[in-house]
Symmetry: C2
Subunit: 241 residues, 2 copies
């Protein structure tokens, strides 16, 4: 029977520009008594990736709307505005509030931007964990997005490496032998959502492990995977852009 464990990695501590996330994560997991293992999906939040990469900007700490020019700068297209809220498309193709710019869990006067290339961020972390700690994991960079039609936010993947973003069930059959209608499952988004359940928003746990996923859901050596290429829907096939 398929059985997953989902647990947060505690004790990573404050992440500063230039920090080595692979070391921070691997050592914290080790200290927790739950070292990373082959076949784990490791989920790290955008926030610590952006901090480590220095994808930060200064904002006026006295101005609650001081980050708005940054939002415009980091948007390639504005989809909706209401009051202070801007829903826009980022250069990566993500559609989200405020271009993914985030003022929580950062220092006063700072704003965290999205990583320049979150798939590359995931790949580097994965490669570092493989090369230096000898552990083969899938890495997902997660962020917290709202969505139309439903209240509340959920965590989704903005970058990944080593794990298939989408599980393609085309050609597989249901329990009645009928070919499945629903064919593409957004695996990395479901894994990111599961991880959020142990990370919380205020607890300072920026990484989590989902252990026990089907080994077929990970990529083989040399096989590329990415959220931007595989999950972002092109404007042409999107009915809501």
């Amino acid at each position: 029977m398929s059985r997953l464990e989902v647990f947060g990695i505690e004790g990573i501590g404050e992440v500063v520009r230039g920090a080595d996330l692979a070391v921070l994560v691997a050592e914290a997991a080790q200290s927790n008594g739950t070292p990373l293992a082959d076949g784990d999906a490791l989920v790290v939040t955008q926030k610590v990736v952006s901090k480590a990469e220095g994808a930060m900007a200064r904002v006026d700490p006295e101005d609650p709307l001081g980050h708005k020019p940054l939002v415009e700068e980091n948007s390639v297209r504005i989809l909706r505005r209401r009051g202070d809220l801007i829903i826009s498309e980022t250069k990566h193709g993500f559609v989200c509030a405020n271009a993914g710019i985030d003022l929580s869990n950062v220092g006063r006067g700072e704003a965290a931007l999205l990583p320049d290339d979150p798939d590359r961020s995931a790949r580097r972390l994965r490669d570092a964990l493989s090369g230096r700690f000898g552990v083969e994991v899938g890495v997902i960079v997660s962020d917290t997005f709202g969505r139309p039609w439903r209240r509340g936010v959920t965590d989704v993947a903005i970058g990944c490496s080593g794990i298939r973003p989408i599980i393609d069930l085309r050609g597989t059959r249901d329990a009645y032998g009928r070919e499945l209608q629903v064919t593409e499952v957004a695996l990395v988004d479901e894994v990111a959502a599961a991880a959020e359940l142990v990370m919380g928003k205020s607890t300072g746990i920026p990484a989590a492990v989902v252990r026990g996923l089907d080994p077929a859901w990970f990529t083989g050596p040399g096989e590329r995977s990415g959220v931007v290429a595989d999950v972002v829907r092109s404007a042409a096939e999107d009915l809501f852009r």
Copy 2:
């Protein structure tokens, strides 16, 4: 440390109209050696709930578009059409493809409709498990929806009972003492997504348990919770309808 287990409930077997889901689920979980326990979140797919409730319709098995009139019937508003695909709003307020009507994992010539009131379905299942098996769980009825802007489907909650649909973090502070911007987490959707990872689309596992969630995320006695009331965004506050 917060730690979750997620596992499917195998051996539920075929669900027919009038089936007693509480008995089927509780006994299968018992047979698997993982009986339901207080504080579990039990996720059941819309499909088996609809089957048990008889929320099914006949379609012409020879006509691949035979379910389209049903889609129109079960929509209160059409948002988009492209080719055979209809994105519409159901009477519950869900915006999804084909009004949630599903032809996979049902018998030939049949279509599964959404349950009439999925929150009530969840409440009945929860009450039956509590009353007859003495176990206090949160129940989520899940379904598989696409979303704009991102490829792939994920499982979301269409009904719940005993578990808070949305965790409201308003007033809580981040690790820096700053009040959180992101305040409402769609708990039941993240739990539904986590459960999907062990259910799959073709494996015939229609129920799963997420064990280890924060007890504060469950409702107290007499406290109502529901997806339709708490998660569905009203047209007035929705920027994309």
